[in-house]
């Protein structure tokens, strides 16, 4: 597995020992989310409640989407609309 950097919003620092970006072992979006929870269990309720993952500027729609070290991965609050 490759190491992927996941950018968080900085308000989560309290739950990630101060880190604003966390490196996890992952080849898919789902593994990255699971990896985040494993590294920082405090994130679990927030991730379970629903977050958006943005890979290279695209909102991902599947946990199975492949990602690698070359991708830019951002965790965001869940987006919807009116």
């Amino acid at each position: 597995m490759a190491r992927v950097q996941v950018h968080l919003w900085s308000g989560l620092r309290r739950l990630t020992d101060g880190a604003e970006a966390v490196e996890v072992e992952a080849t898919t979006v789902g593994e990255a989310l699971d990896g985040l929870i494993a590294a920082h269990p405090g994130l679990e309720p927030l991730i379970e409640a629903g977050v958006s993952v943005v890979v290279d500027g695209e909102m991902t729609t599947s946990r199975h989407q492949k990602i690698g070290p070359e991708n830019e991965v951002y965790l965001m609050q869940r987006l919807k609309g009116g």
Binding site: A49, M59, T61, Q77, G81, G82
Partner: protein, 746 residues
């Protein structure tokens, strides 16, 4: 997508009559309140007159003693043990221990007529113990404010904050202090917006039936029948698949009909009456008191700018209350705050705060209009002080495709620069302005959304096509989906019928929200059509005895692909469909996914106003909306979205607001006092559709519904300053408020 895929289209981009037009101009279209059922009862809701009160006792004996009254439900009739969002929805549907806002439901009655149900509701006796309340966001998070609910905060809230703060967020980049130090001018102000209601003209209405066996049916006006199904099932402890939800035609939603308010009550009442159908139709005052308006906001913004207009740093701290439950769109607001600008140093801080007001719901680009009001107003103030042209400054700092967005990730394909170029070129900018007249500009942004989507399509025996979609048609999406399906199949627009179907007919669909119907259902319909085309090519190939790969689909017919494939005359869709029974059975296509490739949309608005210095009344003289649509499938309905969004923004800017008295009671729950724009308040609304195709959609579509409500709030404030030299940092800029500001200036 390769550029050449955007070739000439036969149908996409044309303006045919909408398929449901005839039903809607003859009064035949059936909306939420228009359906009745055999044996039907009417329901009415008992609502709290207090902003915050403990419910000591509910005595329904007098109501139940009336001839023709069939049932009363209270919270005691609902399942217990819910958590999270399900609990919030249940608590909002029917108050438990405490009424949390003026209008909160505490009981509901079913009777054999509407008048009887209303009479019975008045006879339900509720004993309250009034508690201290708070309705203002800043007061709600101040020390000593009444606590709405202990323990409602999520893990993001640092210790030591008031328990009414239920969510906290911060993010940013760069070095904010260094950024401000680099600037030639730094300005900082506080901005406030009041809650506004979506104001759809159709009140919520729902006919529900639920038997002892847990099987139920609903006819309801909603933006999303599957959301209604899941939420009602959660609140009432039912199995989702046992509930069949049919969406009526919908008389506007704008986000407000993506969730439930009273919708579980007909079901609960029905169950208590042995399964008789029960209809509840809200009154306008119930809609305003007890369905979700947007959040109210209090916002501090600080921006640094160089003399040449370069923005060096920005800071936004937003506090929003979304009623007595978590969910104010403070996160979205912060994401949108600086989205149009390339700013190296940014800091965003946000608070979601509880207050004794109705549970907020999404409203068109939720959060973005408030953010724009604060940021775009302050940018204008900076431009004014530095003597810079506001459109040039926006162009100078504009984000482009691939830039890192203010909220983190990089942008996909976006068209802000093209939008600004089209704005600058518009003749409205050359119009002369007279005394007390002024011009304002502002930019707005919305992400747009995809979401779970399921579409099925079937070819009829005569070669016409039906498409089943799960996204209710609020503003012409049947027309745009029919256009894309017909374009793909190569058949006339009139040969396609698009049906919005009930929950039993398709897989799960998210609502028509997030400007997604034409994008997501449209993309899925194109995929479904392509599947059917594949099947029709295979059938033609069999008929001709050639390989399916040697067949191509052109203009609604299968034909051999090139001379090597063989010499056969084209086989039309009607010929293939006519033989479907003897060539393999029905021909259809379907598509289920969360479509990828959402395209975000920027818009720029220019407004000219005239202020009457005697009365403080602002008149809109000219209004221009320029927005990137990706590609306009049916341009008339794209223009309609632009114009409708602008009108709602104008209302929010100038008149609409929730007014509470010191008891926490809503003072203006009627249209006479909650004043939405009328025809004589507005001029024609000029539109320019910019088309920077979205590579993530087969026809280049971006969502267009939401962005348009965002720029009017600041654009109007900016125009008012231009006209009379006063800056109003609180909405609405109603005549009394503007008059006071003019007097203060002297």
């Amino acid at each position: 997508m390769a550029k050449d895929e955007f070739k000439e289209f036969k149908l996409v981009g044309t303006r045919p009559d909408r398929p449901d037009g005839l039903d809607k101009v003859t009064g035949r279209a059936r909306y939420g309140a228009d359906i009745s059922a055999p044996g039907m009862l009417w329901g009415a809701v008992v609502r709290s007159p207090h902003a915050h009160a403990r419910i000591v006792k509910i005595d329904a004996s007098k109501a139940l003693a009336m001839d023709g009254v069939k049932a009363v439900v209270t919270r005691a009739d609902f399942p217990t043990g819910l958590t999270g969002d399900a609990w919030n929805l249940q608590e909002n549907t029917m108050a438990g221990e405490r009424a949390l806002y003026d209008g909160h439901a505490v009981a509901a009655v079913a009777a054999i007529s509407k008048t009887l149900a209303e009479d019975a509701a008045r006879l339900v006796e509720v004993e309250y113990e009034i508690l201290p309340h708070v309705t203002d966001v800043d007061e709600a998070m101040a020390e000593g404010a009444p606590v709405i609910r202990e323990g409602a905060a999520d893990a993001t809230v640092p210790e030591g904050m008031h328990p009414n703060v239920v969510k906290y967020m911060e993010f940013g980049r760069g070095d904010i202090e260094a950024g401000f130090a680099e600037a030639d001018l730094v300005k900082e102000h506080t901005f406030k917006t009041e809650a506004a209601h979506q104001g759809y003209i159709e009140p919520h209405a729902c006919l529900g039936q639920l038997g002892e066996d847990g099987k139920g049916e609903m006819w309801v006006c909603t933006q999303g029948q599957w959301y209604i199904r899941k939420m009602c099932a959660d609140v009432l402890g039912l199995d989702g698949a046992q509930l069949r939800v049919t969406p009526s035609e919908i008389g506007g939603g704008f986000g407000g009909k993506t969730t439930i308010f009273m919708e579980p009550l007909p079901l609960a009442l029905s169950k208590k009456t042995g399964g008789r159908p029960v209809k509840i139709v809200m009154s306008r005052s119930e809609v305003l008191r007890a369905t979700g308006p947007t959040a109210s906001a209090s916002m501090d913004v600080k921006i640094g700018m160089k003399k040449d207009g370069t923005i060096t740093a920005g800071r936004a701290e937003f506090r929003m209350q979304g009623g007595a439950f978590p969910g104010a769109p403070v996160d979205m607001a912060l994401y949108c705050a600086f989205a149009g600008y390339n700013v190296p140093n940014l800091e965003h801080v946000g608070y979601d705060v509880l207050a004794n007001r109705p549970k907020c719901a999404a409203y068109r680009a939720p959060g973005s209009p408030m953010a724009a009001f604060a940021v775009e107003s302050l940018v204008d103030e900076l431009c004014r002080e530095l003597g810079l042209d506001p459109l040039e400054v926006r162009m100078k700092n504009a984000v482009k495709s691939g830039d890192q967005a203010s909220y983190g990730p990089k942008f996909g394909s976006i068209g802000l620069v093209e939008t600004l170029e089209a704005t600058v070129a518009h003749p409205n900018l050359q119009a002369e302005l007279g005394p007390n007249q002024g011009r304002g500009v502002a930019v707005g942004y919305w992400f747009n959304h995809s979401g779970e989507t399921s579409v099925s399509m079937a070819i009829s025996e005569d070669g016409t096509a039906q498409v089943s979609v799960g996204t209710p048609d609020i503003g012409g999406s049947r027309a745009s989906i029919a256009l894309m399906t017909a374009e793909t199949l190569g058949i006339p627009y009139e040969d396609v019928r698009v049906n919005v179907v009930e929950t039993g007919a398709l897989g799960v669909n998210e609502p028509t929200h997030g400007s997604r119907a034409t994008f997501a259902s449209g993309k899925a319909a194109v995929e479904a059509a392509r599947q059917a085309i594949g099947e029709m090519c295979r059938r033609a190939a069999k008929e001709w005895g050639i390989e399916p790969e040697a067949v191509e689909w052109v203009d609604g017919a299968a034909q051999p692909a090139g001379p090597n494939a063989g010499e056969f005359p084209p086989m039309t869709i009607a010929e293939i469909a006519g033989k479907m029974g003897s060539t393999g059975g029905p021909i259809s296509g379907h598509h289920e996914s969360v479509p990828e490739g959402v395209g975000a949309s920027f818009g720029a608005h220019v407004v000219d106003v005239e202020v009457d210095p005697e009365t403080g009344r602002t008149t809109i003289l000219r209004y221009l909306v320029v927005q990137d649509a990706g590609r306009a499938i049916h341009p008339a309905y794209v223009e309609g979205q632009y114009q409708g969004g602008a009108a709602q923004g104008i209302g929010w800017a100038l008149n609409e607001e929730y007014i509470y008295d010191d008891q926490g009671r809503l003072q203006n729950p009627v249209f006479l006092d909650y004043r939405v724009p009328v025809a004589s308040d507005l001029p024609m609304i000029d539109t320019v559709i910019v088309e920077v195709p979205n590579p993530g959609h087969p026809y280049g579509v971006r969502g267009v519904g939401e962005t348009g409500i965002t720029p009017p709030l600041p654009a109007i404030a900016n125009a008012i300053q231009d006209a009379v030299g006063v800056r109003v940092r609180q909405l609405p800029i109603s005549p009394p408020r503007l008059l006071a500001a003019l007097k203060a200036k002297g």
